[in-house]
């Protein structure tokens, strides 16, 4: 990044990415570039491969990159394990995180945190004080899982924030709270100095009422079929459904 002559690297750059799970090809030909400070959303029907993309970006071994490359800040991280990626600034909110017996939410927060932080007050903001001593995700409702994931992410404070359906299962009351946490993660109150980037999976698009997105992508059958203005895309999806996306010529 130091050389002004050189084209500035993107936060994340995917070139012709292909991913297989258990030997089955799920994603192919994915091209995506997320600049510094940008927020992208990813639409797509159930089973289209959205979660698979995020899991591959985080580096889980089951999600095997069979073609193309993943670059973070210009560095090829395709073969790095998840912890190395976390250390380089990628953080992910799971759609369905596992329960870890004997490991409390408080421990998860402290594991995640880069710096010392006031766990209690952060948990308070996320309405999770009562959950800190509980085994992480054990008996958590859908909405509690989302808030717990966001609490951990806030502790982690990643540069590239990957969110898998952050609003699903969250009641109206907590939607505000979730939206606020995401805005904070993505430094939405900064304009020129914003450096955090995000990739948000959304099935419903509700999250766009709380978080501005710069670019939208539609994933169908494992490949990106459309990139553009997220609000227009959402409008189209709401009106015509995803079936139209695959054949869309507009």
């Amino acid at each position: 990044m130091g050389d002004p002559e050189k084209e500035r690297d993107a936060m994340l750059e995917l070139r012709d990415l292909a991913v297989a799970v258990d030997g089955r090809q799920i994603l192919s030909g994915i091209d995506l570039e997320i600049g510094y400070g940008e927020t992208h959303v990813l639409f797509g029907p159930n089973g289209s491969g959205k979660t698979t993309l995020l899991m591959a970006l985080m580096g889980f071994p089951r999600y095997q990159v069979t073609g193309g490359a993943i670059k973070l800040n210009g560095e090829d991280i395709t073969s790095l394990p998840p912890d190395e990626r976390a250390r380089r600034g990628i953080g992910m909110m799971y759609q369905r995180p596992p329960t870890v017996r004997g490991v409390s939410l408080r421990q998860m927060v402290s594991i995640s945190s880069r710096d010392d932080l006031d766990v209690a007050s952060l948990a308070g903001e996320m309405n999770l004080e009562e959950f800190l001593e509980r085994d992480v995700n054990h008996g958590f409702s859908g909405g509690e899982i989302k808030r717990s994931e966001l609490l951990q992410l806030q502790a982690q404070n990643p540069d590239l924030v990957l969110l898998d359906e952050p609003e699903s299962g969250v009641d109206m009351e907590n939607l505000q709270l979730v939206g606020r946490a995401i805005r904070r993660l993505l430094q939405k109150d900064l304009v020129r100095r914003r450096s955090k980037s995000g990739l948000i999976i959304t099935h419903t698009g509700y999250i766009l009422d709380y978080v501005e997105a710069d670019h939208g992508h539609v994933l169908c059958n494992g490949t990106i079929v459309c990139s553009g203005n997220p609000r227009e895309q959402l409008e189209g999806i709401r009106r015509y459904g995803f079936e139209e996306c695959a054949t869309c010529t507009r």
Binding site: P61, P82, D83, P98, G102, V103, Q107, M108
Partner: protein, 407 residues
């Protein structure tokens, strides 16, 4: 001493009787000779005897926050003293001389002819402690007991009698340890617990043996009406073989028993650890929880709940984690009901660490080793309810110490 003669007779008859479980050992192959250790009035005088090793077993040498202590090294009682009113700590033989009535408790909970090890303890010179909480007494701090072995090839014979009198509350922390470089040794420990009406007894034991040690604790508990017995057992360090299967009889209405066992088998270790509760009166309840982790050794985790009468509740939970190939875990949960109105259940699971959980922690920044360690630690981190907060802290500290050495 007609009764004692009868006891001896039964012991002699069982002298060659192998135990039901565990490798068959011959106590005669060990020596009963060990250097004498003199009695010390104050615990800090123990330092020259290898205080670090005693600390290994979780014993608080300073005696701080303890209401009394018993320390035995090989075959010598080096210290026994109660510091608070309402408590009594004596050598077991001394106590039997002092109190005629104690003979009624002697070999009452444990059968002297259970196997060759119980018989052996009776037929040979032994030491051990007598601990007693007077009726209605309550102490803030726990009593501590330490049984230490340092003579090579020694057989340590121990007979303990613990009585929580009516309405009392007694907490005991005990460490059993051997010098870590001892090449062989045998520990035979008989413990008889009596929990009287509405009394509460908690017994937290940490074992820190050595690779060459064989260990055969023989314990039994009798709990009367409204009484509570809680046993927390931690064995994470190397041992050659360890076999124990304490039985707790709930004989009075509303009596409760809880057993928590936390085990780690090092490569070459054979652990066979069980807990049994016989629920013999209405309103009794029992819970047996065990967590077993193998790093290459073998573990048999047993549990047996026997509901003899209606209106009882009991649950058994047996979880095993195999960390290394070569290690094996056999979980044997048994439920036995003798009445239509029993509520008994069990839950058993044996497996490896879930990769998904490791990866979850890795995605938060832990290396694979760190993530694995955190999960194993969580697995062993049984939530123990019913200990006073201070003691719970203490138990966590002891567990943490053991865990650090074990994993």
């Amino acid at each position: 001493m007609h009764a004692l003669e009868e006891i001896r007779e039964r012991a002699r008859a069982a002298a060659a009787k192998p135990a039901l479980y565990g490798a068959d050992l011959d106590p005669c192959e060990y020596t009963a000779e060990a250097g004498e250790c003199g009695y010390v009035e104050s615990l800090d005088q123990l330092e020259e005897l290898g205080a670090e090793e005693l600390a290994r077993a979780g014993v608080e040498i300073s005696g701080k926050e303890r209401s009394g202590s018993y320390v035995q090294i090989d075959g010598s009682v080096v210290h026994s003293k109660a510091l608070e009113k309402g408590l009594e700590v004596l050598g077991c033989r001394e106590a039997l001389e002092k109190y005629d009535w104690l003979w009624d408790y002697y070999w009452n909970a444990v059968a002297v002819d259970a196997d060759k090890y119980t018989a052996d303890v009776e037929l040979n010179p032994f030491e051990g402690y007598f601990m007693r909480a007077m009726p209605g007494s309550r102490t803030i701090y726990p009593l501590q007991a330490c049984l230490y072995m340092r003579e090579p090839r020694f057989v340590q014979r121990v007979h303990n009698i613990i009585i929580a009198e009516e309405g009392s509350e007694l907490h005991i922390i005990t460490g059993c340890a051997s010098k870590h470089d001892i090449e062989a040794g045998l520990h035979l420990g008989v413990s008889e617990f009596y929990v009287k009406r509405n009394a509460k007894l908690t017994f937290t034991m940490v074992h820190s043996w050595a690779e060459g040690m064989d260990v055969r604790p023989r314990s039994a508990v009798v709990v009367e009406e409204g009484g509570l017995f809680m046993n927390n057992y931690i064995a994470m360090e190397a041992v050659r073989s360890l076999q124990t299967y304490p039985t707790c009889r709930l004989v009075g209405e509303g009596a409760t028993a809880r057993f928590n066992s936390i085990m780690v088998a090092q490569p070459g270790s054979e652990l066979d650890v069980g807990s049994r509760v016989v629920l013999g009166a209405p309103g009794c309840s029992a819970e047996i929880i065990s967590r077993a982790v193998t790093r290459g050794g073998n573990i048999v985790a047993r549990g047996h709940l026997k509901g003899e009468t209606g209106g009882i509740r009991a649950h058994l939970e047996c979880h095993g984690l195999i960390l290394e190939e070569g290690g094996a875990i056999l979980a044997v949960p048994e439920l036995e009901g003798h009445h239509p109105d029993v509520d008994m259940s069990h839950e058993a699971a044996v497996g490896k660490i879930a990769q998904q959980e490791v990866e979850y922690l890795m995605s938060r920044g832990l290396s694979e080793e760190e993530a694995t360690a955190a999960i194993v630690r969580g697995f062993l981190n049984v939530k123990i309810e019913g200990l006073p907060p201070r003691l719970e802290q203490e138990m966590k500290r002891m567990m943490e110490m053991s865990r650090r050495k074990a994993l």
